[in-house]
Each structure stands twice: as C-alpha cells, then as structure tokens.
C-alpha cells in the first residue's frame, strides 16, 4: 500500500470530540499514505470521519476536537506536533483543501479576486502591484471565462460551478503539492460535477500534484482515483488500488458498499442497501471492529483487540479478522 516516497503518511491517528452528549471517538488508529502526484479516494458513509480526518491532518479541527495520538508526516514534518503557525504556513501553500457547497464556502462580502490575493499575499512574496495580475492568472488557470471581469465579482453573483472553480483557484494559487477535495461536487448540478472533477484531475496531472478526493460516492472515486481508502465509523477498513478493490474487495463493508453503487452492478435491481447504521461513536465500549453489528460474518473472535491489519496483496490491506 505504500508508494515509494509517500508525500503524506498518516499513522495511527486518533481524534475525539468532546460534546455535551459525551466524548465522540471520531477516529481511531487511522493509517494510510498519499504518494507524490497520486490521486487517492477516501470513501465512506456520512459520519465515517473522512472529512474530520483531513481537518485533523491540516489542523483545522473545531475547538471541541482533539487529536489523541498518532502521526501525520507531510514533507518531513509531523503535522500532529507542528505548531499552529507552522500549520498555517503549510495550509494553502503546501497542502490546500476545497469544500462542498462552494457558494457558501467563499466569503460572501469579499470580491473573489481579493480572496485569491489574500492567499497569495499570505504565502508568497508577490509584490502588491503584482497581486492582481497573479490573481487573474489564477482565475484563468481554472478556466474561468473572462477572468478580468470575474475578478471583481462577489460569490453571490456567480454560479455554484464557477464558485467551485474560484475555490480551486484559491487552493491552487500557491501551487501546493497536495489538494484535498472534500465532496467537491456536492451541491453542484450533474454536468457541472463532471466539469469540476475533470478540471481537478487535469490540473493535478499538469502540476504533478497529489490529490485526495473525499466522497461518499464510490463510483466517483472509482472514476478518478488511483487508490481508494475505505472508511467506516472512524476506522480505515480497507486500502487498495481502485481496480483491485472493485475486483476483489476483502472487507465485508467494502463489498457491501460496492453492491450499493450503481456503476458497479449490471442490474439496478441487485442494488442492496447496507443494513444497520453507524454505531454510536459516543459509546465507551465500542467493539474492536466497529462494523461488527452490521456484519454477517462476525464471530466471537471479532471482539478481540487489537483489530488486525491483514495484507491482502502488495498494495492491498484490510482491517478485518475474517476477510472475504
């Protein structure tokens, strides 16, 4: 599962949230890598912790969230132990992130051109006279028509697709080596979705930039990613190259997930819902395997800690005591 020189290497990362209802064990023992220039999909249901994972890695967790342990080495620096100012230096310059619902993810009362300039001014030594030209270039780079005019636009004057392009322009303004796209197509209409995904893919290839696609849509991940990390209830349950994951899923959850994805089945009638729901992550007595209650292959041994990580091939790992 390791590419020769990983750009980002997350090891045994744990995150919890303190809430009024108790402590939420949002992530436990999460490990994976992202290689240089590679496209990795992080797939899972809502609430599986896939967004929180990257908030934690980039240091933008809510105040209620806390990293309980592990490492996240990016470019030689452990982001878990990095200071707030070191993280600020990395975010937007070395590793950038874009979000869902682009129309509300941009500052509503600031011209989009100025929002790009803010990032350029923060991370580059561009002279202020040059900022504007660089911002227009960044707009042109994400193929926004008439960038000179759009520079002066406010987000409410632009469509969702254009706003997502603006957000990509902000993220890529300083040429980061990693782009994390958190559900980038949610809130966009279908034709725009494809255009945005193609744009991200093309820019990533052109700049040899690694990208992470966080999505609940296994089909989307299959279409765009080299490797896929499957998450369930705060655990990484399976990591494999895309083709292998679809051909030979080893974790029961992955298999179920593939069965629920229209792209992967010949007949819509054979689509199956996954029974049950995510376990309550506030429980103090979470089982070693958090898929236990939903799994039809579970046995007494599945309760034993630790959850084993089984190698199922050169780049294929599965966290299951009884893999398929």
């Amino acid at each position: 599962m390791d590419s020769p020189v990983p750009l980002l290497s997350v090891e045994s990362l744990g995150v919890e949230f303190r809430t009024r209802g108790g402590t939420v064990h949002a992530l436990e023992d999460v490990s994976f890598t992202v290689g240089k220039g590679e496209t990795v999909g992080v797939v899972g249901e809502s609430g599986s912790g896939k967004s929180v994972l990257f908030y934690a890695v980039l240091g933008i967790l809510d105040a209620a969230g806390r990293i309980t342990g592990g490492r996240a080495v990016f470019g030689g620096l452990d982001l878990v132990r990095a200071s707030a100012s070191e993280l600020e230096e990395i975010r937007g310059r070395e590793a950038a992130m874009i979000f869902q619902n682009p129309r509300v993810a941009l500052n509503p009362i600031r011209k989009v051109g100025h929002q790009i300039e803010d990032v350029l001014a923060r991370h580059t030594s561009t002279p202020s006279a040059e900022l504007r030209r660089r911002a227009v270039e960044a707009l042109a780079a994400v193929r926004i028509p008439d960038p000179e005019r759009r520079y002066h636009a406010y987000p409410f004057e632009l469509s969702g697709g254009l706003c997502q392009r603006i957000m990509i322009a902000i993220a890529l303004a300083c040429s980061p080596s990693l782009l994390v796209a958190d559900e980038p197509t949610t809130g966009l209409d279908v034709t725009t979705q494809a255009a945005v995904m193609d744009l991200i893919g093309e820019l990533a290839r052109k700049r040899n930039m690694a990208s992470v696609l966080i999505t609940h849509d296994l089909g989307l991940a299959a279409e765009h990613c080299d490797r896929i990390v499957v998450m369930h209830a705060g655990h990484v349950v399976e990591v494999a190259p895309t083709a292998e994951l679809f051909a030979r899923p080893r974790h029961p959850y992955t298999a179920r997930l593939i069965a629920t994805t229209p792209h992967a089945v010949a007949d819509l009638r054979s689509l199956a819902a996954i029974p049950g729901s995510l376990p309550d992550l506030r429980r103090g007595d979470l089982p070693a395997c958090r898929f236990l209650d939903r799994c039809d292959r579970s046995e007494a041994a599945c309760l034993q800690r630790p959850l084993p990580r089984v190698s199922a091939g050169p780049a294929h790992a599965v966290a299951c005591r009884r893999p398929l």
């Binding site: 993280l87 937007g92 509300v104 941009l106 500052n107 993220a171």
Partner: protein, 337 residues
Amino acid sequence: MLRLIGKRLLAAIPNVIGIVIVTFVLTRALPGDPAAFYAGPAATQEAVEQIRASLGLDQPLWGQFIDYVGDLARGDLGLSVSTGQQVLDEILRRLPASLELTLLGLLVACAIALPLGILAATRPGSWVDHACRLVTTLGVSLPIFFTGLLLAYVFYYLLGIAPPPVGRLDSMYSPPAHVTGFYLVDSLLAGDPELFFAAGKQMVLPVLTLAIFVLAPLARMTRAAMLGVLSSDFVRTARASGLSAATVLYRYAFRNAMLPVVTTLGMVFSFMLGSSVVIEKVFAWPGIGSFAVDALVQSDYAPVQGFVLVMALLFVTLNLMIDLLYTLIDPRVSIDD
C-alpha cells in the same frame, strides 16, 4: 449611492408628514389648558380668553394645524411660551449637548462591547465569555435612571471622585467659543486643554450610564453573530487557506458579523436618544430632552412638538445612515434594493 440616498429621503417624507400630524394631535390631546396656566391662578376669565386668543388657541383645531404647518414650512417652530425663546434656536442650542452625550456613550459602548463580544465568541466557556454574560445581564436588568443615580451616588456622594452632576461644566468655567457646540471639540479647537478636561469630567458619569445601558444588546449581538460566522463554511475555507488568525478573525469573520451588529447599533442609538430625556434630568444636562420635559410639564406646546419633530428627523437620518452602512459592508444589499 446618491440614488439610494435620494430614494431613502423621498421614502422618509410620508413618515415626517405622519409625525407632524401625530405630534400636533397628541399635544392638543394632552390634559391642561395652557392659557389658564400662563394667566396664573389669579387671572380673570377675560384675561385667560385674551391669552388664549393671543396664542391662537381660540381657533378650531384644523385652523391651528394649518397655522402650524405654515410656520413649519417657513422653518419656524414657534415660540416657547414658558421661556419666551424661539423653539428652533433653543433646540439648536441644546441639541449638541444631547448629541455629544449620546455619541460619546455609543462610542464607549462600542469600544467595550465589540471586543468583549469578539473575545467571548472566540473563547466560548472562558472567563471572558462569563464576564460578557454577566455584563449583558446587568446591563439589561438595570433601568437607566437607576444606573445614573447609582453612579452619581457612589462616585460623587460616597467616593467624591466624580464632579457633581450639575450639567456640562462646573460653574467656575465658561463654555468654549461656539463652533460645533460639542464642548470637547470646541475646547480643543480653542486650544484649552483645561477646559477640555473640565468638560470631559462632567461627561464621565452620564456617558458611562448611557454606555452601560446599550452595552448589553451590543455585546450580546456581537457574540452571537461572531459565533455564527466563525462556524460558517467560508471561515473554514479561510482557515484551510492558511490565512493568519487575525485575518480570519477580522477580515473574514468580523466584517460578516458586522451586519447584525450594525442593525443593533441603529436600534440602541434610538433607545439612547429616547432615554436622553431621563439621563439629562438626572445629571442636570441642558439638552433637548430636559427642555422637552420641562415644556411638557408646563403645557408648552411648541417645544414639545419641536422636540418630537427633531427626534423624528434624527431617526430618519439615523436609519438612512444605517442603510448606507449596510451597502458599504454588504455588496448583496444594493441589488436587493
């Protein structure tokens, strides 16, 4: 921008007409007979009727109204029967005293409430947050005349560190040459720092009273608005772009949180104008509020009408300024127009 101002001013005209009618009717509906009041208890019926005729009060109501509107159109607010002064002159002379107090009170309130609200929102559950809650609860629950009396009692009577509540200046000083009517400004313009401090000293307690009064809604709204904005998606984007904490807090979060704060600002400013009546009485401040109360007690119509009219015009101006501020802060406002 100019079109917007013009439009808002046009829209204010019906309001002003309505206010003219209502104040006229209301003052006439007040109990008491001004003619009898000025004639004095010993006057004969004949003398009272004579005064009534000289005041124009023997005319039917609509006749009086037409006279009143005609005078207004010429910029004549009438004569105060109790002081014998032109109401317009009196109001213009006293307005700066009230405005100086109100504006300074608002400034002090903002200077405390905005940082307090921001700090409370960025550190929920901390001591700043609790302090913010305490201050807002106190500010809401203390009536303004009570705060004023309490401050005067404690700081003047008990501790003796505040000057006596005798108005804008201690009697040993004479007011600065009239330029703006704001003593603080005029004394500085006159190059008289001693006078500046003397005027400032007199202002401390009334300004504090007003500030405490409006601090609560401002701090609460700032805190709530900041909490909302800080958890919004675009602040997360700004943080994900590595913008510095200060940039995120002020350029991204606070400027967005300003919108509800400005609305509250407009509201509290009008509360303050209204409560100036009480404050000016407590601190013997020679503003338009105390002028209006004195006139009201003496059934002196013209000053009361003048006062309400001036207040109404102030409100209209205030609302216009709030609207303009909106368009400056939020680009989305102008298209909704």
